[in-house]
């Protein structure tokens, strides 16, 4: 679990009151914190380059094209839009990580939440913002409830949440498919799709095109900046306040670092588990909403799947910090977007999946390696301080 514990880089070495040794030590820590992600990116690029060379392409031209096409305005907007659900998914997983809980059930939580929110939203008539709020609340409650099942199993029966959330994914999929093919389905003439009825205008989230235009940016035809990015930003801020600036967050991180120590100091571990899983599930419930209230306005067979699993990779990249998760989500969305570019230059699209996988893997390995170096350095520093002869 040490891999999943928080990594807080010292922002800037504050001028130490005494020795220059302390200052050098801080600088070194800062260097280590930057070294890990840099190392990971280098390793991932190396792995992807090998794959590209084997498949007969020049990695440099491929990367150049990816950058060139990935930075057009359209690509940038699409990347941000696709990063929003990944970000929410990553946050849901990361919240559990901070406490040593592995919520693999985001996939099932968001699918079920999106379906029921879509159906509930289509079934009621409410004025403007209330309708939207209702849909969002239903999604969060459903996500939380579904994650709550795993939490209750863990606290009352000792079932590992890893096992139960994986199984709950399958059950959620079954329930969603059943409901979608029966009660919640709206038959559309000539369609092989099954989907819920479309949401009314009042439940749709406005896009941010007016904001873009206010800044003199004309969005390309048919591509808009989804408004849900604002919700994601709010969730990120709340997450940060909660985890880093509240009593609850302190208990959460303490429990993650040492469950026994935190229990001994009066933290109610069961309560913490349940509350954390509920919150993780509530965030997971939001994952499908950018699509539901932003573009498709219905849940159907063609609803985007797999975001919950990708979110695990994003959370690993983000190291539990909201900014880190945002960077991870943008990176993943950028790579996903590049799949179209790769196809256009006849490079196997699997390359982007290889890149995503190797980035996650090398980030995990790099952080562990850097952590050990840091520990070794700290030990050496202590030894030097205690016994100058050893150091010499």
């Amino acid at each position: 679990m040490s891999l999943l514990t928080p990594e807080r880089p010292e922002p800037a070495p504050t001028p130490p009151p005494t020795a220059a040794a302390t200052s050098r030590f801080d600088l070194r820590r800062f260097g280590l914190a930057v070294a890990a992600p840099a190392l990971a990116v280098v390793v991932a690029l190396a792995v992807a380059s090998i794959a590209l060379l084997v498949s007969g392409s020049n990695p440099l031209t491929v990367y150049a094209r990816m950058l060139e096409e990935g930075t057009t305005l359209r690509s940038a907007l699409i990347t941000v839009n696709n990063a929003v659900p990944l970000y929410l998914s990553g946050l849901a997983v990361a919240l559990g990580f901070r406490m040593g809980l592995f919520n693999i059930g985001v996939e099932g939580q968001y699918q079920l939440a999106a379906l029921l929110a879509a159906a509930a939203g289509a079934a009621v008539v409410l004025p403007g913002p209330l309708h939207l709020l209702f849909v969002v609340l239903v999604a969060m409650v459903v996500g939380a409830m579904w994650a709550g099942v795993a939490a209750v199993l863990k606290t009352t029966r000792g079932v590992s949440e890893v096992i139960s959330t994986i199984m709950l994914n399958v059950i959620a999929g079954g329930i969603a498919a059943y409901l979608l093919s029966t009660y919640l389905q709206e038959r559309v003439e000539g369609s092989n799709n099954s989907r819920t009825p479309r949401l009314d205008e009042s439940a749709r989230f406005p896009n941010l095109d007016p904001v873009l235009r206010a800044f003199g940016v004309e969005p390309p035809q048919g591509t808009r900046l989804g408004g849900f990015v604002l919700v994601a930003a709010v969730v990120g801020v709340v997450y940060w306040l909660l985890v880093s600036r509240s009593r609850f967050g302190f208990d959460l991180r303490a429990t993650g670092l040492s469950p026994s120590a935190s229990v001994a100091s009066g933290v109610n571990a069961k309560r913490m588990t349940i509350v954390t899983m509920l919150m993780s599930g509530a965030i997971a419930g939001l994952v499908g909403l950018p699509q539901l209230v932003g573009s498709s306005y219905a849940y159907g067979l063609d609803f985007t799947s797999g975001l919950g699993f990708t979110g695990i990779g994003v959370a690993l990249l983000g190291r539990g910090s909201p900014v880190g998760v945002a960077i991870g989500a943008l990176l993943f969305a950028f790579l996903e977007r590049s799949s179209a570019t790769l196809q256009r230059i006849d490079v196997p699209t699997e390359i982007y999946v290889i890149m995503q996988g190797s980035i996650v893997l090398s980030v995990v390995v790099a952080y562990e390696a850097v952590r050990r170096i840091g520990v070794a350095q700290a030990e050496r520093a202590v030894r030097r301080a205690v016994d100058p002869e050893v150091a010499a």
């Binding site: 093919s181 063609d302 799947s305 799949s339 179209a340």
Partner: protein, 345 residues
Amino acid sequence: MRLAAVLTVASLGLMACGSSDDNDEAVEPGAASAAPASDLKVGLAYDVGGRGDRSFNDAAAAGLDKAVAELGIEKEELSPNASGSDRGDNLRSLAEGGFNPVIAVGFAYAESLEPVAADFPDTTFLIVDDASVKADNVKALLFAEEQGSFLVGAAAALKSKTGNVGYIGGVETPLLKKFQAGFTAGAKQVKADITVQAKYLSQPPDFSGFGSPDKGRETANGMYDSGADVIYAAAGGSGTGVFQAALANKTLAIGVDSDQYESVGDATLQPVILTSMLKRVDVAVFETLEKFANDEEIPAETVFDLEVDGVGYSESGGFVTDIKPQLEELKAKIIAGEITVPTTP
């Protein structure tokens, strides 16, 4: 250079799974240069899985390759990413790139096609397996899968010794239920008291059931254990697992979409493939492109059924030669309207 590379890969792929049927001729690597020049630029968007799935998408690819070879069209292909979140973006980028027509392979494109078609009124969009998008520039290519499934259902019943046959669908969607309905009706037509087991490998929106040979194998083993001796695998790439189970249990299986006796790519599995339900997406794609090239009118909906050989059964391997008269009789009855095949189980 790029085109040549694509063609080489494509023809290799086609030769690997080349069909005995005359509509499936492998494209020779140099064929494009000899083909008549057409100024048609065709964009084709596959569904998840893309080219190389040995089933649905590959059938569309075969039709496109044939059009490249025989009509001399220019082509661009795109597959969505694994989560399917960029279907709409792909259609849009094809339309924007000046490709016309743009072909969307699979019903899952319907929702994302609607706004794109509205934004590009001068581009014609062809969509396979969906008739819900109503727009002047959207043309539907539909198939009577239940009719083809009816015939292979009849074949299964005629070949079954245990009076027990099975249906394995990839993903439980309305489209796959059409296959199931036809298969069951066909089997019961031949043997009214036959037992038909039916199972699906995954529940939408999890589409893994189309690409999980392991699930196919386990499910098929279960069905064979409970008495079935012929299983219809309407499960895309998972069908290979069903064939492996059939081989292990010394029973029979039925393929889907393309002639899987030819496309399975493993000679040891061929003897268990009784027949395949053919869904000629290749024919639909090619014929429609041909009409387009000749400036012929394309109807809003074209149904490829038994009558136009848009669906059917394969005879490779010769396992159904002895029952062909019965199958042809049923086929004639369906075409004449004497038998109406149900579309829901």
